[in-house]
Protein backbone atom coordinates (compact mmCIF):
# COMPACT_ATOMS: atom_id res chain seq x y z
CA UNK A 1 0.00 0.00 0.00
CA UNK A 2 2.87 2.36 0.89
CA UNK A 3 4.44 1.71 -2.50
CA UNK A 4 1.18 2.64 -4.25
CA UNK A 5 0.80 5.86 -2.22
CA UNK A 6 4.45 6.80 -2.84
CA UNK A 7 4.06 6.10 -6.56
CA UNK A 8 0.91 8.25 -6.67
CA UNK A 9 2.80 11.11 -4.99
CA UNK A 10 5.62 10.85 -7.53
CA UNK A 11 3.33 10.61 -10.57
CA UNK A 12 0.75 13.17 -9.53
CA UNK A 13 3.40 15.74 -8.66
CA UNK A 14 3.27 16.36 -12.40
CA UNK A 15 -0.02 18.05 -13.35
CA UNK A 16 -0.44 16.37 -16.74
CA UNK A 17 -0.90 12.96 -15.09
CA UNK A 18 -3.87 14.24 -13.10
CA UNK A 19 -5.61 15.06 -16.39
CA UNK A 20 -4.68 11.68 -17.91
CA UNK A 21 -6.01 9.94 -14.78
CA UNK A 22 -9.30 11.84 -14.92
CA UNK A 23 -9.84 11.12 -18.62
CA UNK A 24 -8.89 7.43 -18.19
CA UNK A 25 -11.22 7.12 -15.21
CA UNK A 26 -14.15 8.57 -17.15
CA UNK A 27 -13.49 6.32 -20.16
CA UNK A 28 -13.19 3.15 -18.04
CA UNK A 29 -16.18 4.12 -15.92
CA UNK A 30 -18.33 4.55 -19.03
CA UNK A 31 -17.21 1.16 -20.39
CA UNK A 32 -17.86 -0.63 -17.10
CA UNK A 33 -21.23 1.06 -16.57
CA UNK A 34 -22.33 -0.21 -19.97
CA UNK A 35 -20.72 -3.67 -19.71
CA UNK A 36 -21.65 -4.77 -16.19
CA UNK A 37 -25.47 -4.67 -16.55
CA UNK A 38 -25.18 -6.89 -19.63
CA UNK A 39 -25.42 -9.90 -17.29
CA UNK A 40 -29.07 -8.82 -16.88
CA UNK A 41 -29.74 -8.12 -20.55
CA UNK A 42 -28.54 -11.33 -22.17
CA UNK A 43 -25.21 -9.78 -23.17
CA UNK A 44 -26.73 -6.85 -25.03
CA UNK A 45 -24.92 -3.53 -24.54
CA UNK A 46 -26.80 -0.33 -25.35
CA UNK A 47 -28.04 2.81 -23.67
CA UNK A 48 -30.96 0.81 -22.30
CA UNK A 49 -28.43 -1.31 -20.35
CA UNK A 50 -28.09 1.65 -18.00
CA UNK A 51 -31.65 1.08 -16.78
CA UNK A 52 -30.46 -2.26 -15.34
CA UNK A 53 -27.70 -0.69 -13.23
CA UNK A 54 -27.94 -1.51 -9.54
CA UNK A 55 -25.88 -0.45 -6.52
CA UNK A 56 -23.50 -3.39 -6.84
CA UNK A 57 -22.79 -2.73 -10.53
CA UNK A 58 -22.16 0.98 -9.89
CA UNK A 59 -19.80 0.21 -6.98
CA UNK A 60 -17.85 -2.36 -9.03
CA UNK A 61 -17.71 0.02 -12.01
CA UNK A 62 -16.31 2.85 -9.85
CA UNK A 63 -13.76 0.58 -8.16
CA UNK A 64 -12.50 -1.14 -11.32
CA UNK A 65 -12.48 2.13 -13.30
CA UNK A 66 -10.41 3.83 -10.56
CA UNK A 67 -7.90 0.96 -10.49
CA UNK A 68 -7.69 0.78 -14.29
CA UNK A 69 -7.19 4.56 -14.54
CA UNK A 70 -4.35 4.50 -11.97
CA UNK A 71 -2.67 1.58 -13.76
CA UNK A 72 -2.99 3.44 -17.06
CA UNK A 73 -1.29 6.52 -15.56
CA UNK A 74 1.49 4.43 -13.99
CA UNK A 75 2.14 2.63 -17.28
CA UNK A 76 2.31 5.92 -19.20
CA UNK A 77 4.66 7.38 -16.57
CA UNK A 78 6.96 4.33 -16.70
CA UNK A 79 6.91 4.36 -20.49
CA UNK A 80 7.90 8.06 -20.53
CA UNK A 81 10.72 7.30 -18.09
CA UNK A 82 12.03 4.70 -20.52
CA UNK A 83 11.19 1.84 -18.18
CA UNK A 84 9.16 -1.23 -18.97
CA UNK A 85 5.75 -1.59 -17.35
CA UNK A 86 3.99 -4.74 -16.16
CA UNK A 87 0.94 -5.16 -18.36
CA UNK A 88 0.00 -8.86 -18.01
CA UNK A 89 -1.93 -8.66 -14.72
CA UNK A 90 -3.68 -5.47 -15.81
CA UNK A 91 -4.78 -7.07 -19.09
CA UNK A 92 -6.05 -10.14 -17.21
CA UNK A 93 -7.99 -8.00 -14.76
CA UNK A 94 -9.54 -5.88 -17.51
CA UNK A 95 -10.49 -8.86 -19.69
CA UNK A 96 -12.09 -10.83 -16.84
CA UNK A 97 -13.94 -7.73 -15.62
CA UNK A 98 -15.45 -7.04 -19.05
CA UNK A 99 -16.02 -10.60 -20.29
CA UNK A 100 -17.71 -12.08 -17.20
CA UNK A 101 -21.01 -10.16 -17.50
CA UNK A 102 -21.02 -10.52 -21.27
CA UNK A 103 -20.77 -14.30 -21.24
CA UNK A 104 -23.09 -14.97 -18.33
CA UNK A 105 -26.59 -15.87 -19.65
CA UNK A 106 -26.08 -14.41 -23.15
CA UNK A 107 -26.47 -16.50 -26.33
CA UNK A 108 -22.75 -16.03 -27.14
CA UNK A 109 -21.41 -19.19 -25.48
CA UNK A 110 -24.19 -21.55 -26.66
CA UNK A 111 -23.66 -20.28 -30.22
CA UNK A 112 -19.87 -20.67 -29.92
CA UNK A 113 -20.17 -24.19 -28.52
CA UNK A 114 -22.76 -24.97 -31.21
CA UNK A 115 -20.18 -24.08 -33.85
CA UNK A 116 -17.56 -26.22 -32.10
CA UNK A 117 -20.05 -29.09 -31.93
CA UNK A 118 -20.63 -28.78 -35.68
CA UNK A 119 -16.90 -29.49 -36.12
CA UNK A 120 -16.82 -32.19 -33.44
CA UNK A 121 -20.15 -34.05 -33.65
CA UNK A 122 -19.31 -36.05 -30.50
CA UNK A 123 -20.09 -32.86 -28.54
CA UNK A 124 -23.62 -32.67 -29.98
CA UNK A 125 -26.29 -32.69 -27.29
CA UNK A 126 -23.75 -32.08 -24.55
CA UNK A 127 -24.31 -29.37 -21.97
CA UNK A 128 -20.73 -28.08 -22.29
CA UNK A 129 -21.73 -24.50 -23.23
CA UNK A 130 -24.39 -24.12 -20.52
CA UNK A 131 -22.07 -25.72 -17.96
CA UNK A 132 -19.39 -23.09 -18.64
CA UNK A 133 -22.10 -20.42 -18.56
CA UNK A 134 -23.54 -21.84 -15.36
CA UNK A 135 -20.07 -21.73 -13.79
CA UNK A 136 -19.65 -18.07 -14.78
CA UNK A 137 -23.15 -17.19 -13.55
CA UNK A 138 -22.77 -18.93 -10.20
CA UNK A 139 -19.21 -17.66 -9.63
CA UNK A 140 -19.68 -14.13 -10.94
CA UNK A 141 -18.81 -12.45 -7.64
CA UNK A 142 -15.65 -14.56 -7.30
CA UNK A 143 -14.64 -13.72 -10.87
CA UNK A 144 -15.09 -10.00 -10.22
CA UNK A 145 -13.05 -10.35 -7.02
CA UNK A 146 -10.33 -12.12 -9.02
CA UNK A 147 -10.39 -9.33 -11.65
CA UNK A 148 -10.03 -6.71 -8.89
CA UNK A 149 -7.15 -8.66 -7.30
CA UNK A 150 -5.36 -8.77 -10.66
CA UNK A 151 -5.83 -5.01 -11.08
CA UNK A 152 -4.48 -4.38 -7.57
CA UNK A 153 -1.52 -6.67 -8.32
CA UNK A 154 -0.83 -4.76 -11.55
CA UNK A 155 -1.07 -1.48 -9.66
CA UNK A 156 1.40 -2.71 -7.02
CA UNK A 157 3.86 -4.13 -9.57
CA UNK A 158 3.94 -0.88 -11.51
CA UNK A 159 4.06 1.23 -8.33
CA UNK A 160 7.12 -0.75 -7.24
CA UNK A 161 8.86 0.02 -10.52
CA UNK A 162 8.05 3.73 -10.15
CA UNK A 163 9.32 3.96 -6.55
CA UNK A 164 12.48 2.01 -7.40
CA UNK A 165 13.28 4.68 -9.96
CA UNK A 166 15.36 4.37 -13.12
CA UNK A 167 17.88 1.54 -12.71
CA UNK A 168 21.18 1.74 -14.52
CA UNK A 169 22.89 -1.58 -14.94
CA UNK A 170 26.63 -1.34 -14.50
CA UNK A 171 28.43 -3.67 -16.86
CA UNK A 172 31.38 -5.70 -15.60
CA UNK A 173 33.58 -3.78 -18.06
CA UNK A 174 32.60 -0.46 -16.46
CA UNK A 175 33.23 -1.85 -13.00
CA UNK A 176 36.72 -3.02 -14.10
CA UNK A 177 37.37 0.43 -15.57
CA UNK A 178 36.37 2.03 -12.29
CA UNK A 179 38.98 -0.09 -10.54
CA UNK A 180 41.82 1.04 -12.82
Amino acid sequence: MNKIISACKIVFSLGQYKIIALISFLVFLTLYLFALPSSYTGGVISFESLTFLDGKSVFLSLLMAALAALIMVFIIYLFKQGQSANKASATGGLVIGFITPLLCCSPLLPIAFGLIASLFPALNGSFLGPRVQGFIATHQEALFAFAIMLLILALYQNAKRITNGVCCRASTMNIKNLGD
Binding site: Y40, V44, P110
Partner: protein, 166 residues
Protein backbone atom coordinates in the same frame (compact mmCIF):
# COMPACT_ATOMS: atom_id res chain seq x y z
CA UNK B 1 -19.42 -2.76 -28.13
CA UNK B 2 -18.88 0.85 -29.14
CA UNK B 3 -21.25 0.33 -32.06
CA UNK B 4 -23.98 -0.78 -29.66
CA UNK B 5 -23.28 2.11 -27.34
CA UNK B 6 -23.42 4.69 -30.07
CA UNK B 7 -26.46 3.21 -31.81
CA UNK B 8 -29.40 3.35 -29.42
CA UNK B 9 -31.73 2.46 -32.26
CA UNK B 10 -29.85 -0.73 -33.03
CA UNK B 11 -32.17 -3.71 -33.19
CA UNK B 12 -30.06 -5.59 -30.67
CA UNK B 13 -33.03 -5.66 -28.31
CA UNK B 14 -34.98 -7.59 -30.89
CA UNK B 15 -32.24 -10.21 -30.99
CA UNK B 16 -33.60 -12.97 -33.20
CA UNK B 17 -32.44 -16.40 -32.06
CA UNK B 18 -34.60 -18.32 -34.51
CA UNK B 19 -32.80 -20.85 -36.65
CA UNK B 20 -35.75 -21.03 -39.07
CA UNK B 21 -37.48 -18.34 -41.07
CA UNK B 22 -40.25 -16.75 -39.02
CA UNK B 23 -43.13 -17.41 -38.67
CA UNK B 24 -43.14 -21.22 -38.52
CA UNK B 25 -45.46 -23.80 -36.94
CA UNK B 26 -44.67 -24.36 -33.26
CA UNK B 27 -43.11 -27.81 -32.82
CA UNK B 28 -44.84 -30.29 -30.56
CA UNK B 29 -43.43 -30.49 -27.07
CA UNK B 30 -44.14 -31.98 -23.67
CA UNK B 31 -43.52 -30.54 -20.25
CA UNK B 32 -44.21 -31.50 -16.67
CA UNK B 33 -46.39 -29.22 -14.56
CA UNK B 34 -47.55 -30.14 -11.06
CA UNK B 35 -46.74 -33.78 -11.73
CA UNK B 36 -48.72 -33.90 -14.98
CA UNK B 37 -47.25 -34.29 -18.45
CA UNK B 38 -48.80 -31.65 -20.71
CA UNK B 39 -48.38 -30.88 -24.42
CA UNK B 40 -47.70 -27.35 -25.68
CA UNK B 41 -50.55 -27.88 -28.15
CA UNK B 42 -52.98 -27.70 -25.20
CA UNK B 43 -52.63 -23.93 -25.42
CA UNK B 44 -53.44 -23.67 -29.12
CA UNK B 45 -55.91 -20.82 -29.67
CA UNK B 46 -54.15 -18.61 -27.09
CA UNK B 47 -51.32 -16.15 -27.42
CA UNK B 48 -48.50 -18.02 -25.71
CA UNK B 49 -45.10 -17.01 -24.45
CA UNK B 50 -43.07 -20.20 -24.07
CA UNK B 51 -40.20 -19.13 -21.83
CA UNK B 52 -37.39 -21.64 -21.32
CA UNK B 53 -34.92 -20.62 -18.66
CA UNK B 54 -32.38 -21.90 -16.16
CA UNK B 55 -32.80 -21.00 -12.51
CA UNK B 56 -29.10 -20.10 -12.11
CA UNK B 57 -29.16 -17.35 -14.72
CA UNK B 58 -29.16 -13.69 -13.64
CA UNK B 59 -31.02 -12.53 -16.75
CA UNK B 60 -33.84 -14.91 -15.84
CA UNK B 61 -34.29 -13.48 -12.34
CA UNK B 62 -34.54 -9.94 -13.74
CA UNK B 63 -36.87 -11.21 -16.47
CA UNK B 64 -39.19 -12.94 -13.99
CA UNK B 65 -39.42 -9.74 -11.93
CA UNK B 66 -40.11 -7.66 -15.03
CA UNK B 67 -42.83 -10.05 -16.23
CA UNK B 68 -44.39 -10.02 -12.76
CA UNK B 69 -44.41 -6.21 -12.75
CA UNK B 70 -46.09 -6.10 -16.16
CA UNK B 71 -48.31 -9.13 -15.77
CA UNK B 72 -51.57 -7.23 -15.36
CA UNK B 73 -51.19 -5.77 -18.86
CA UNK B 74 -49.96 -9.05 -20.34
CA UNK B 75 -52.88 -10.99 -18.84
CA UNK B 76 -55.40 -8.35 -19.95
CA UNK B 77 -54.18 -8.80 -23.52
CA UNK B 78 -54.64 -12.57 -23.30
CA UNK B 79 -51.05 -13.76 -22.97
CA UNK B 80 -50.45 -17.16 -21.40
CA UNK B 81 -46.93 -17.54 -20.04
CA UNK B 82 -45.53 -21.06 -20.01
CA UNK B 83 -42.53 -20.56 -17.72
CA UNK B 84 -40.56 -23.77 -17.98
CA UNK B 85 -37.24 -24.59 -16.37
CA UNK B 86 -34.81 -25.88 -18.97
CA UNK B 87 -34.38 -29.63 -19.19
CA UNK B 88 -31.92 -30.62 -16.42
CA UNK B 89 -31.70 -26.89 -15.65
CA UNK B 90 -29.33 -26.44 -18.59
CA UNK B 91 -26.84 -28.95 -17.20
CA UNK B 92 -26.34 -27.17 -13.88
CA UNK B 93 -27.71 -27.58 -10.41
CA UNK B 94 -29.98 -24.90 -8.99
CA UNK B 95 -33.42 -24.13 -7.70
CA UNK B 96 -36.46 -26.06 -8.87
CA UNK B 97 -39.03 -24.05 -10.83
CA UNK B 98 -41.27 -23.84 -7.75
CA UNK B 99 -38.40 -22.67 -5.52
CA UNK B 100 -37.34 -20.09 -8.12
CA UNK B 101 -40.83 -18.59 -8.45
CA UNK B 102 -41.40 -18.69 -4.69
CA UNK B 103 -38.07 -16.94 -4.06
CA UNK B 104 -38.16 -14.22 -6.71
CA UNK B 105 -41.78 -13.69 -7.85
CA UNK B 106 -44.02 -15.35 -5.24
CA UNK B 107 -47.19 -13.60 -6.47
CA UNK B 108 -46.89 -15.45 -9.79
CA UNK B 109 -47.74 -18.79 -8.15
CA UNK B 110 -51.32 -17.47 -8.05
CA UNK B 111 -51.33 -15.81 -11.50
CA UNK B 112 -54.00 -17.40 -13.72
CA UNK B 113 -52.07 -16.83 -16.93
CA UNK B 114 -48.82 -18.43 -15.67
CA UNK B 115 -48.13 -22.12 -16.09
CA UNK B 116 -45.00 -23.35 -14.32
CA UNK B 117 -43.19 -26.51 -15.29
CA UNK B 118 -40.09 -28.34 -16.41
CA UNK B 119 -39.22 -28.92 -20.08
CA UNK B 120 -38.85 -32.52 -21.26
CA UNK B 121 -35.80 -33.69 -23.21
CA UNK B 122 -37.99 -33.82 -26.32
CA UNK B 123 -39.20 -30.21 -25.87
CA UNK B 124 -35.63 -29.11 -25.16
CA UNK B 125 -34.48 -30.76 -28.36
CA UNK B 126 -37.33 -29.27 -30.42
CA UNK B 127 -37.11 -25.72 -29.09
CA UNK B 128 -33.74 -25.20 -27.45
CA UNK B 129 -31.20 -27.52 -29.02
CA UNK B 130 -28.45 -24.95 -28.44
CA UNK B 131 -29.24 -24.93 -24.70
CA UNK B 132 -29.68 -21.18 -24.30
CA UNK B 133 -29.97 -20.28 -20.62
CA UNK B 134 -32.78 -17.84 -21.39
CA UNK B 135 -34.90 -18.02 -24.54
CA UNK B 136 -38.54 -17.37 -25.30
CA UNK B 137 -40.94 -18.09 -28.15
CA UNK B 138 -44.02 -16.00 -28.87
CA UNK B 139 -46.65 -18.28 -30.40
CA UNK B 140 -49.86 -16.84 -31.86
CA UNK B 141 -53.40 -18.28 -31.67
CA UNK B 142 -52.81 -20.25 -34.90
CA UNK B 143 -49.82 -22.01 -33.33
CA UNK B 144 -47.24 -20.08 -35.36
CA UNK B 145 -43.96 -19.04 -33.75
CA UNK B 146 -43.72 -15.30 -34.43
CA UNK B 147 -40.72 -14.30 -32.29
CA UNK B 148 -37.70 -16.10 -30.82
CA UNK B 149 -35.68 -13.93 -28.49
CA UNK B 150 -33.90 -13.72 -25.16
CA UNK B 151 -33.95 -11.65 -21.99
CA UNK B 152 -37.67 -10.77 -21.60
CA UNK B 153 -36.84 -7.86 -19.30
CA UNK B 154 -34.77 -6.21 -22.00
CA UNK B 155 -37.16 -7.10 -24.82
CA UNK B 156 -40.46 -6.38 -23.10
CA UNK B 157 -41.47 -3.99 -25.87
CA UNK B 158 -41.28 -6.91 -28.34
CA UNK B 159 -43.62 -8.96 -26.14
CA UNK B 160 -46.05 -6.04 -25.78
CA UNK B 161 -46.00 -5.46 -29.53
CA UNK B 162 -46.80 -9.15 -30.10
CA UNK B 163 -49.79 -9.24 -27.75
CA UNK B 164 -51.28 -6.09 -29.24
CA UNK B 165 -51.13 -7.72 -32.66
CA UNK B 166 -50.41 -6.22 -36.07
Amino acid sequence: MLLCMTSPGLAAWDLNLSEKALPYPAPEGLFVSQGKVLPIEKYRGHKVMLWLFSTWCHTCVVAAKSLEKNNAGLQKNGLTILALRNYKNGGNSGLSIEQFIEKFVPSMTQAENWVLGEASAQLDNAYNARHYADVYFLIDEQGMVQVVSTSPAATLSTIKKFIKGP
